[in-house]
């Protein structure tokens, strides 16, 4: 169970105009602007749900994920994930969740994938029988086979992303956060990733929270969507409520326009 209540988060951004003179000026006296990333965000997500968290770039999606995964501390508001306050009890919290950041890598670059997996086994203190079972199962489902022995630098993006997904699930987390997991992937890899996530949710009852700009991801994986824009929740409902009027991309673009975000 995830509960977010009136969460606010602001960032301080050093701003200046372009040009050398402005650069010198800002060296002597830096001016900061406050940018509101999240403004009174509230929602709750039940166990086993699949939620698509959508919104244009800079809407606050990643910030929300980072607060939920204990990386960032909000300015105000309450947040409970299975009874834990993520940023207060970071280490206890992260042991129970899995996170995939589509634009980053958690695997060690110069060593075979298997080495990174074994490191994660020790970091999460996964009992060896559980580890073996999970690894074998993930290897089969994501078709990792030979990839495990390959150094990460020699994997294609699609291969790597499949390994990243497996890496985030070795410790059997209750909740999986996916931040743009299909970005840059080809059609085959995208489908493989989507099908895997659907199956994971169905079989292990893992709660899945997905942010993406790919509406086909949303269609394939999630039932509920939460729309965020300029730091506020604008819409929270069933996918079927907004879909059904043809192309989902156009529907969403329309939606963004109607909320002026």
């Amino acid at each position: 169970m995830i509960v977010m209540k009136n969460i606010c988060k602001t960032y301080r951004v050093a701003r200046r105009n372009a040009g050398f003179r402005e650069a010198v000026k800002s060296f002597l006296h830096r001016e900061y602007d406050t940018v509101t990333a999240l403004d009174n965000v509230s929602f709750s997500i039940a166990d086993g749900e699949t939620v698509g968290y959508i919104g244009p770039n800079g809407a606050g999606k990643s910030t929300t994920i980072k607060i939920l995964s204990g990386i960032l501390t909000p300015d105000s508001g309450e947040c409970l994930v299975d009874g834990r306050i993520p940023w207060k009890d970071r280490i206890g919290h992260v042991a129970r969740i899995g996170v995939v950041f589509g634009q980053r890598s958690q695997l060690w670059w110069d060593v075979p994938v298997d080495d990174s997996f074994e490191l994660l086994r020790d970091i999460y203190s996964i009992p060896s029988d559980v580890y073996r079972r999970n690894r074998d199962e993930l290897t089969e489902l994501l078709d990792l086979g030979k990839l495990l022995k390959t150094p990460v630098r020699q994997l294609s993006l699609g291969q790597r992303m499949r390994c990243e997904l497996a890496a985030s699930l070795l410790h059997s987390p209750d909740i999986l956060f996916l931040d743009e997991p299909t970005i840059g992937l080809d059609a085959v890899s995208k489908i493989a990733v989507r099908e895997f996530i659907v199956r994971l949710n169905r079989e292990r009852k893992t709660t899945v929270i997905l942010t993406t700009h790919d509406m086909q991801d949303i269609e394939a994986i999630t039932r509920r969507i939460i729309l965020i824009g300029r730091g506020s929740i604008l819409l929270d409902g069933d996918l079927s409520d907004i879909a059904g009027r043809g192309d989902l991309d156009h529907t969403v673009a329309e939606l963004y326009r109607s909320y002026d975000i």
Binding site: L72, I91, V94, A95, V111, L119, I123, S125
Partner: protein, 269 residues
């Protein structure tokens, strides 16, 4: 088992560094030539005025060869680029969503990196140094106890060095780019550690001050213990000071780490 995590990080990082063979070969060649040149310079210096030379020449030769052989253990500029990168580009969010203490994680990583690099490079350099003719030849320590003290002081030295680098990593959370901090610390350390010129060559009062700073606890102590340049009570005092700096620097690093975690903003979306 809490320690197993960090041991595992250490092991993987260690194994990873062992695969950079070309870099190791280049390192050995560079360090060997460098050490040879340095000894020549000091030899010329001694020839001009032997009375002004503050160390025995054998002591100096051993000092220089140890310095070159174990360069990777003590050089402050030798930091983990991946750590700076992860702070700058936001990859750190993966490290933060692990059930592991960030300070200890990075400490284990740095220790593995330094030790594996030193391990690959030290043997050929030391071997050659023992076979060279005098005045270049490296000598064995005066007795077994000295050797034990040397090893112990080395361990303390590496710990002080890593703890100092950890300060730089942690302070990087508060600056736009880590380069400034990194260069500042590396330059100061290189002089005060006794890497450019061993500390006995400085004027007495300056030297006394330098010997109290944490930088002197990094390379200066074990290398001078090895050759017998400091011994007995003086060596014990130097090692106690090392222990003091270990505790202080680690405590400071952990404190800054905790503050950084509170205000951390992950960069780059």
């Amino acid at each position: 088992m809490k320690w197993k995590k960090y041991l595992s990080v250490f092991r993987l990082r260690f194994a990873m560094c062992l695969q950079y063979r070309t870099a190791a070969f280049a390192g050995v060649a560079t360090q060997f030539v460098w050490g040879f040149m340095e000894i020549n310079v000091f030899y010329a210096f001694r020839s001009s005025d032997p009375a002004a030379f503050p160390m025995g020449f054998e002591q100096l030769a051993s000092y220089i060869w140890l310095q070159q052989a174990f360069l990777a253990l003590f050089m402050v500029w030798f930091m983990e680029n991946e750590i700076f990168d992860s702070i700058m580009d936001g990859n750190i969010c993966y490290e933060l969503c692990r059930p592991i203490d960030l300070y200890n994680l990075w400490f284990a990583r740095s220790a593995a990196h330094r030790m594996s690099r030193a391990l690959l490079r030290c043997a050929p350099i030391l071997l050659a140094a023992f076979l060279l003719p005098p005045p270049y030849r490296m000598t064995l320590p005066p007795d077994a106890l000295t050797l034990v003290c040397f090893v112990f002081a080395m361990l303390l030295s590496v710990t002080v060095t890593i703890a100092l680098c950890m300060l730089v990593y942690m302070l990087s959370f508060f600056t736009v780019s880590p380069q400034g901090l990194r260069i500042l610390f590396a330059m100061i350390a290189e002089v005060l550690q006794g890497i450019v010129i061993p500390l006995p060559f400085y004027p007495r009062n300056v030297r006394r001050l330098m010997e109290m700073l944490p930088f002197a606890s990094m390379e200066n102590v074990p290398l001078r213990i090895y050759s017998g340049n400091i011994s007995g009570g003086e060596a014990v005092r130097a090692m106690l000071l090392q222990g003091f700096w270990v505790l202080l620097l680690i405590a400071a690093g952990k404190l800054i780490c905790r503050r950084a975690m509170k205000k951390v903003t992950v960069q780059g979306g």
